[in-house]
């Protein structure tokens, strides 16, 4: 199944894209999506520990299951305000 990955700030720049489609197996979790993404963009891998995630514009845990067509976002540490 295919999900839509969104990346922001530093992660977006590392991947060279703010949005990309990614194919993951049925039953995949947010973590699996990250693994797939990091495999395609190895320089992202080092950021795993500081990344947080969102699923369809709600904060999500890495073990949250994703579904076909979902929007999965990975967020570097935030600096608003």
């Amino acid at each position: 199944m295919r999900v839509r990955v969104r990346l922001f700030a530093r992660l977006r720049e590392i991947a060279g894209s703010d949005e990309l489609p990614l194919d993951v197996p049925e039953g995949a979790t947010v973590e699996d999506v990250w693994e797939r993404l990091a495999a395609a963009h190895p320089s992202l891998a080092a950021h795993r520990r500081s990344v947080s995630a969102a699923l369809n514009a709600e904060f999500a845990r890495m073990h949250t299951r994703v579904g076909a067509g979902d929007e999965v976002a990975f967020l570097p540490p935030v600096s608003g305000g």
Partner: protein
């Protein structure tokens, strides 16, 4: 992008707008506290030229609504509205405006402080600093809205 009490987007911020939202006619509050976050000209020993803010707008709005809900739970009498700006923001210009109204000043001060602390902890917003000689992403807190410790820290600061 905004709903009634919170918003995010490019374009200058209007403090009066959020003040009006929390203290319109008929709302006989005793106190209105405001906060304006502005771009500082110096950071980490560097002369800052301007900032560029990027956000995940849809998630930011959801996060903002959750922050309002938390503030309401702590200070049920306080009414809060705020906006965050994205895009290029020049020195001294507002990047965030907050207004909190309540019958007594303590709740308004506390709610206002709590909201800015929570924005800094969890809002999916990133600033890129342009300074003399280069630019760099500023990275602060790892956004974990359900982190109880962070929530308590924000509450402690609000009541400090």
């Amino acid at each position: 992008m905004h709903d009634r009490l919170v918003g995010i987007g490019s374009g200058p911020l209007d403090l009066d707008e959020v003040v009006r939202q929390v203290s319109g006619a008929g709302a006989a509050h005793g106190a209105v506290v405001t906060f304006i976050g502005t771009v500082r000209g110096e950071n980490a020993g560097r002369r800052v030229l301007w900032l560029e803010y990027e956000a995940y707008d849809e998630l930011a709005l959801n996060a903002f609504r959750s922050i309002l809900k938390e503030a309401r739970q702590h200070w049920p009498t306080a009414r809060v509205a705020f906006r965050h700006r994205t895009g290029r923001v020049g020195l001294g210009e507002p990047s965030v405006v907050i207004a909190a109204a309540s019958p007594h000043r303590a709740e308004a001060f506390a709610a206002c402080r709590y909201v800015i602390e929570r924005i800094k902890q969890v809002a999916p917003v990133w600033k890129r600093e342009f300074f003399d000689g280069g630019d760099s992403w500023i990275e602060g807190a790892t956004a974990r809205p359900d982190d109880e410790g962070a929530r308590e820290e924000a509450f402690r600061r609000a009541c400090g």
